[in-house]
């Protein structure tokens, strides 16, 4: 017992040390984890990797060794044995202990991910963003000026005059650095699955079911903008690259670090529709495109795309549950922004809502939201 415990603890210790390197050593491991839950998930992954790796190497090596050692020889005689109770007891009890340990060690992480949600009423860091899935699009709702979602379901269904709706509804979503996102999830047609790879987030959107998910991003990537324009047709072909793009990008996990590295640089704070990703880099979609640029703590709107030296990288959001023929196109994004930029962006979206009514396609699907 003592030996096996020592072995388990020792393995755990080794895996903690080697953890980050293995889990996120792209292209062979997990994509970079950029949320508070990610290190725990990745540690667990690494821990299981060590254990299963040892068993894998051990069993396959033994199998190979037996195949060589006990190959048929002329005149050879096989041993006669129906088994050994002791050996069987050993290889029943030891995997049982290891499996039990894995079962117990993961419980706190699971609870953190799916059970212990931060409370929006008491936790000031919480940003509630509702997610609605339809074939084959995502949309996201912020509460808007009154800081309240549009009241009970009946009200929004009666909202014939779309102008009275102050909620901000968009096809992608943004969060301020440091925020905890609490996201109720609904679907209006079939089952979808809301997934953000880098956040280690996945939750099905099931019609008729009130699902939700929460996570806290730890930072964002800043990438240089390539000067050559985007030319490929994203519907059809793309140019594969040999290494993950984020290997060349800088991860920013605090505003101090951001100020040191990019404070005086021209950083575009949103991509679509001005800047697209192709051939391993972000490129202007056209020379006429305009972007919002963050430089010297100032936010400059509608600047020519040529001005942007860097861009804040959005995290990709994908549908992971088969939802029909366009399933593979059901992709959106989350952009984590410096808090000041986020406030500016949110203010602009609320103002936009005051001036222009919500588009019919969005209003019509959001009338189906059920609280």
């Amino acid at each position: 017992m003592a030996t096996s415990l020592k072995w388990v603890v020792g393995t755990a210790f080794v895996s903690i040390g080697a953890g980050a390197a293995w889990a996120q050593d792209a292209p062979w491991g997990l994509p970079p984890g950029c949320s508070t839950i990610a290190p725990e998930v990745d540690w667990l992954y690494n821990f299981i990797f060590v254990i299963t790796g040892l068993v894998f190497v051990g069993v396959e090596a033994l199998l190979l060794y037996f195949c060589v050692k006990y190959r048929r020889r002329p005149g050879g005689k096989p041993g006669y044995s129906h088994g050994s109770k002791l050996a069987e007891a050993i290889w029943t009890v030891s995997p049982a202990l290891v499996l039990l340990f894995i079962a117990l060690v993961q419980l706190p992480t699971w609870a953190k991910a799916k059970i212990d949600f931060p409370d929006p009423t008491t936790d000031k860091d919480v940003v509630v963003v509702q997610v609605l899935a339809e074939r084959f699009k995502w949309s996201f709702r912020y509460p808007g000026r009154d800081d309240k979602f549009f009241g009970p379901a009946q009200d929004i269904r009666k909202a014939d005059d779309a102008a009275e709706l102050d909620d901000v509804i968009l096809r992608d979503f943004k969060l301020p650095l440091g925020a905890k996102a609490v996201m109720p999830i609904r679907s209006i047609d079939v089952i979808h699955s809301f997934s953000i790879f880098n956040m280690r987030v996945k939750q099905d959107a099931v019609p008729g079911l009130r699902n939700r998910v929460w996570f806290q991003p730890t930072g964002f990537y800043v990438a240089p903008v390539a000067r050559s324009s985007l030319w490929v047709n994203p519907e059809q072909k793309f140019e594969p690259t040999s290494k993950p793009a984020w290997n060349d990008w800088e991860f920013i996990d605090s505003m101090q670090k951001y100020a040191e590295k990019y404070g005086s640089k021209s950083v575009a704070v949103e991509t679509s529709p001005s800047i697209g990703f192709s051939g391993g880099a972000f490129r202007p979609m056209s020379q006429q495109a305009v972007v919002t640029v963050y430089r010297n703590d100032e936010i400059l709107e509608k600047r020519p795309v040529a001005e942007a030296e860097y861009v804040i990288v959005p995290y990709q959001v994908a549908c992971m549950e088969l939802c029909g023929q366009g399933h593979y196109t059901m992709v959106s994004s989350l952009t984590v922004l410096p808090p000041k930029v986020y406030q500016h962006w949110y203010e602009a979206r609320m103002k936009e809502r005051e001036e222009f009514a919500l588009q019919d396609d969005l209003l019509n699907v959001w009338k189906l939201w059920r609280d």
């Binding site: 998930v41 299963t52 199998l63 990709q316």
Partner: protein, 587 residues
Amino acid sequence: MSTEGHAGSAHAEPSFFRKYIWSTNHKTIGKQFLFTSFIFLGVAGFLILLVRWNLAHPGEPVPLIGKLLFGGSGAVPPEKFIFLTSMHGTLMIFFVIIPILVGAFGNFLIPLHVGTHDMAFPTLNALSYWLFWGACILIVIGIVMGFASPQDQDMAGWTLYPPLSAYAGPVMTWVLLAMIFVGFSSILGAVNYLTTIAKMRAPGLSWFRLPLTTWAQFITAVLQLLATPVLAAALTMLTFERVLGMNFFTPGGLELSGQPVGHSGGVPLLWQHIFWFYSHPAVYILVLPAMGMASDLLSVGARKAIFGYKAMVLSICAIAGLGFVVWAHHMFVSGMNPYLGMGFMISTMLIALPSSIKVFNWLGTLWRGQIRFDTPTLNAISFVAMFVIGGLSGIYMAATPVDIHLHDTYYIVAHFHYVVFGGSLFAVFGAVFFWFPKMFGRMMNETLGKIHWFLSFFFFNSAFFIMHVVGLAGHPRRYASIAFLEQTLGHMQWMNRMITYSAICLGLAQLVLIFNFFWSVFKGKKAEPNPWQANTLEWTVPSPAPEHNYHVVPTVHHGPYEYGAGNGKDWMSQVESAGAAPSSERH
């Protein structure tokens, strides 16, 4: 249920039609299942190669056959993708693996292994095959419709999750009806297997003298009898929802493409619970018979008794029992209560235990053996090697927080292909070689067999191992291409191409098997009664096995694994009553 009056040679030779087509003989029905499933193995493999082509070269024409199949430029249209991948899964599970393992080898081997003339209910057995034929006709209609019609091809994956499956095109109804037929075929087969094994064992053949192949078939039949009716109920509910407008799985207030859906009051998760309550045991239906056959092949190949026979039997029983309480581990991110997820996580960890016991016992069987590297043994050893990988990768998914990331990615695809292809199908390859002489009276060609084994083993691994890597990065299942996820996954495209090229080679390698099979049926070396020097009862009769198996009902004196007992030769048939016969009990 006496077996005394059935000494076969007294019967007149039946007509060609009675003998080969409308037969009630278990061996003929087994071969019929084998041929039918092999045809669908080819079809399902071909469908997935089209899918793989589009993943490697999105929007590019399929070489040679693209224009013929899809018209236009010859590229796989994105809207065909779901049809192709759903049909691949449905065919492979319900029309290939289950019918080969249970229908073909169960039918062929059970009466031979228990020492009787035929199944307990031969007519019911024939009915089971002809119901399967009904299913084949229905699914072929579905396949043809899917290729022919642009509107009708929508499907919902092999898991058929509603509401998508409730809305999907007419192909879906044909598939549902086909699966209902397969289900009834399975249930009838299971009744037959259970009765035959329980009541018709030869004198002296106690439960713990049964070969593991037959033990696995027995437990599989229990699983089928208990689980398949649940699937049949679910399929019937879904069919009624689609055809008769009933409501089980679709809640109210939904809209599809702007149109209100005329359903209300259903619950989508209900389907997932019912479906996986069947389909998780079905995963074990897909592998338990393969485990049984691989055990026998290993023991014969290594000239060693099975290490821990009783532990092997008990672990089959444990897998089957626990298999009924792990189903919701497919639903960790579905919105099911997360506390429920914890319970299913623990039961899932438990079920890894009997599988690991089996692996260690297979190693123990090889230990101190005299391993003969003929084709059946090579395939059986490959089964163990691949099943280890499939089993270990399952632990990642059982760990709920890791599953959040891995769920519905290619990691899952890699995992279950290591179990079902690397495991079950390699055991099937071995079993086809091993029992071919008893089926057709001739030997398959060893050289071609080894070439086929090597090519399959090599290309299987180069296709599927790398899927773990793309899955870890997040590559979703059932995506027509990753063009829209280029920022996250673009650097994996070379791996996608490598998988595709390997899969094509893997498909081509099966031509060697097909050639070897048919060439050997007609031109193979004539087989002796017992070419492998094996102990079980089927090797005491001539090859091929005669119409009614045994002239005289055999009397069994000991267990099936008395190899290397030191009686002058390294094997001892179950019917030998050598005075110094060791006890079949474990030491």
